[in-house]
């Protein structure tokens, strides 16, 4: 009675059985890596806009406050995108004939909004409120990144629920004094650059300052599902 299988089956079966664990692990890692990659999350990917608005020029070099354009951030869930009138407050006087600004003038003339490409957008089943975050000492740049350095806007975080939960579970890692919320150049406290809070106490370390501020500002940092999925 002859052998049914070729001798090489011995080696093949040994490789596949012992290698199976590696293969499965490798696949799992690959899926994990893809899920975190910018290809999937669009993190750090600049988006094309109808007008190449530069936050670096306006917020960084000129020092315009975030609230000048994003007006409803302190009062509403949505931070607000500026109407064309806001752009025209300056650009009716300066760069009035620049070809780059033609779409802005066009929008002002025809009364049709500029169709900005949304960069930071959460899905519809998430109820996110800007105003509470601002009120409790979470700065703009904490979530939106170094906006004052961005020639073109890109998303700084993955916007995954895990990204939100990371902070909600440990708010002391990210909270800053309320006076610094709109400071685009704010750096967390370190030994060389300590940060002073409203009542004068100085901190050289984020955790210490964070714990202090969480108590001061009564930050509850809600984590129940219905907080955001109403």
């Amino acid at each position: 009675m002859g052998q049914i299988f070729h001798r090489s089956t011995n080696m093949i079966s040994r490789i596949t059985i012992f290698g199976a664990l590696l293969i499965v692990g490798g696949l799992g890692y690959a899926i994990y890596a893809i899920a975190l990659s910018p290809w999937y999350t669009d993190q750090n990917v600049t988006k094309e806009q109808p007008v190449p608005f530069s936050h670096r020029h306006h917020a960084g070099e000129l020092g315009i406050d975030c609230r000048y354009c994003h007006t409803s951030v302190e009062k509403s869930s949505f931070a607000g995108l500026p109407p064309t009138q806001t752009c025209m407050t300056c650009h009716s006087q300066i760069w009035t004939n620049a070809s780059m600004l033609e779409p802005v003038r066009e929008s002002y003339r025809t009364d049709k909004s500029i169709a900005w490409t949304r960069v930071n957008a959460l899905p519809d089943f998430v109820y996110f409120d800007h105003s509470i975050h601002i009120a409790k000492g979470i700065g703009c740049t904490t979530c939106h990144g170094q906006v004052a350095d961005m020639p073109l806007m890109y998303r700084a975080g993955t916007l995954y629920m895990s990204w939100c939960l990371d902070c909600h579970r440990q708010p002391e890692k990210n909270v800053r004094p309320k006076s610094e919320v709109f400071n685009p150049f704010y750096q967390p406290p370190s030994k060389d650059h300590p940060v002073k809070v409203e009542d004068g106490t100085e901190f050289a370390d984020q955790t210490a300052m964070g714990n202090y501020l969480v108590k001061e500002y009564h930050i509850q940092s809600l984590q129940s599902c219905s907080t955001c999925h109403r």
Binding site: I4, N10, Y160, S162, L165
Partner: protein, 463 residues
């Protein structure tokens, strides 16, 4: 039987019936079992049985499609009875599975020789029953395609399953049980598959049995590893027999509903599982031994012993019922008292009394050898017990849910045809798999029967 008084005949009378028919050798046992797979042609009877099973499987196909499209509203579940047939059937199927593992694993560790001819198909029954059971937790979800949320897989939401919930423990218990049972069954099959590989005449048979027999040579090292693996897996599977159905009972015990929230449930459920499991083994064994002429391998003594195990576990289940009534009395709790009265004379009372008849009253006939040895009656009892155990789960789940603490929340449960169709469909899955099993795999463990020939050969005097 005729001459009393002579020592030889007393010894003959006191000798228990043999576990193996007379005149068997290694070769005859191997021939008998492997020929069912390899040389016996596919009979019209098998085709007929398989066709029925397959037809019901197609019904299951239809039901699953409807569930995906329309959702679980097609079943009769409403508020307050949010659990209906789906959970009744889940517990019923899982319970049935426990007997197979008990026969394979626990009886192996206890060196009980009578397990040898029934353990293969009993373990197959377990695996198929667990597959049928597993369908229900998946299907009863609102979004079955999100079933993987039940598993602690890393995800971008940093969200883990609720580890405090027995519904999550179920996921671990049932998947562990399925994996270990499958492994145990497969490891036990390897030498038999090698036998089939060596005897197969068709090329396809040789290759397929060859692949699955994993290169078995029958060498001493292989046999040593086989024995070690069997004992290890039996050791792993043994606690599962007790723990899996305990965890399933926790689905109910952690709730506060009267009739659910009782500490008797874990042992009561496990005993009930073994009860219904042995009933199903009998339901399968009796036709198999008849249609495949296996009467001298699965002997009357086997059926007798299984009937006794059924009786014993049935008595434990009866104790559970009596104790529930005792708790009602002893606690003086008005809700507990109402729960019992509602079972006895409420709207589902006929079901409760059918349950008492099927599970407690009728099986008491098994005390008498005359009834245990009547194969037709034994088959009937096995069906009665299976029905009774299904009714028990119905009584526990539906009756307690339909009327709990607040009368304003009371409501009835009426199963729809989709409920029945899902249940029938899982029978389709079970019987399709089981018919495929008896056609293509050795339904009795050839290895173990050979060792039984060896052992009984030593005991029987040469005649």
């Amino acid at each position: 039987m005729a001459s009393e008084g002579s020592p030889k005949s007393i010894a003959a009378v006191n000798q228990p019936e043999p576990l193996l028919g007379p005149g068997h050798t290694f070769a005859s046992v191997t021939d008998q079992i492997s020929s069912i797979v390899l040389t016996r042609p596919t009979t019209p009877g098998w085709v007929f049985g398989f066709a029925i099973g397959f037809g019901l499987l197609m019904l299951l196909n239809l039901v699953v499609t409807m569930l995906m499209i329309k959702g679980v509203g097609i079943w009769g579940i409403r508020v307050p009875t949010a659990w209906g047939f789906a959970i009744v059937n889940f517990v019923w199927w899982i319970g049935i599975g426990h007997a197979g593992t008990l026969i394979s694993a626990i009886l192996l560790l206890l060196h009980q020789k009578w397990r040898t001819s029934i353990n293969r198909f009993a373990e197959a029954m377990t695996i198929f029953a667990v597959m049928c059971a597993g369908m229900f937790p998946l299907l009863h979800m609102g979004r079955p395609w999100m079933f993987y949320y039940m598993m602690p897989l890393p995800n971008p939401m940093w969200l883990w399953p609720q580890f405090r919930s027995p519904l999550v423990w179920d996921v671990f218990a049932v998947s562990t049980y399925f994996t270990v049972s499958l492994l145990f069954w497969f490891v036990g099959l390897i030498p038999d598959l090698a036998t089939l590989r060596d005897r197969a005449t068709s090329k396809a048979g040789k290759i397929i049995y060859g692949i699955f027999s994993m290169g078995w040579r029958g060498s001493a090292i292989h046999w040593h590893r086989y024995e070690t693996a069997s004992v290890l897996l039996a050791g792993l599977a043994t606690p599962l027999v007790l723990s899996v159905h305990t965890v399933v009972s926790f689905d109910f015990t952690i709730a506060i509903v009267p009739g659910w929230h009782t500490t008797i449930f874990p042992p009561y459920f496990v005993a009930g599982a073994i009860y219904s499991g042995f009933a199903m083994v009998l339901t399968l064994a009796i036709p198999i031994r008849r249609f495949y002429h296996l009467e001298d391998l699965v002997t009357k003594r086997h059926l007798d012993i299984m009937a006794k195990v059924m009786l014993a576990t049935g008595l434990i289940v009866a104790y559970g019922y009596i104790f529930e009534a005792f708790i009602v009395l002893y606690s003086g709790n008005q809700y507990e008292r109402f729960m019992l009265m509602n079972r006895i004379k409420g709207p589902y009372a006929p079901i409760y009394w059918m349950l008492i008849a099927c599970n407690i009253v009728i099986p008491q006939t098994l005390w008498f050898g005359k009834f245990r040895r009547n194969i037709a009656w034994l088959f009937f009892i096995s069906l009665v017990v299976n029905t009774g155990m299904w009714l028990e789960r119905f009584v526990i789940i539906v009756i307690s849910l339909s009327r709990d603490f607040m009368p304003s929340s009371w409501g009835m449960y009426y199963p729809t045809r989709w409920d029945w169709a899902t249940y029938a469909g899982t029978f389709g899955l079970f019987f399709t798999l089981f018919f495929l099993f008896i056609r293509f795999l050795p339904m009795i463990s050839i290895v173990e029967m050979r060792s039984l020939v060896h052992e009984t050969g030593e005991e029987q005097p040469h005649s």
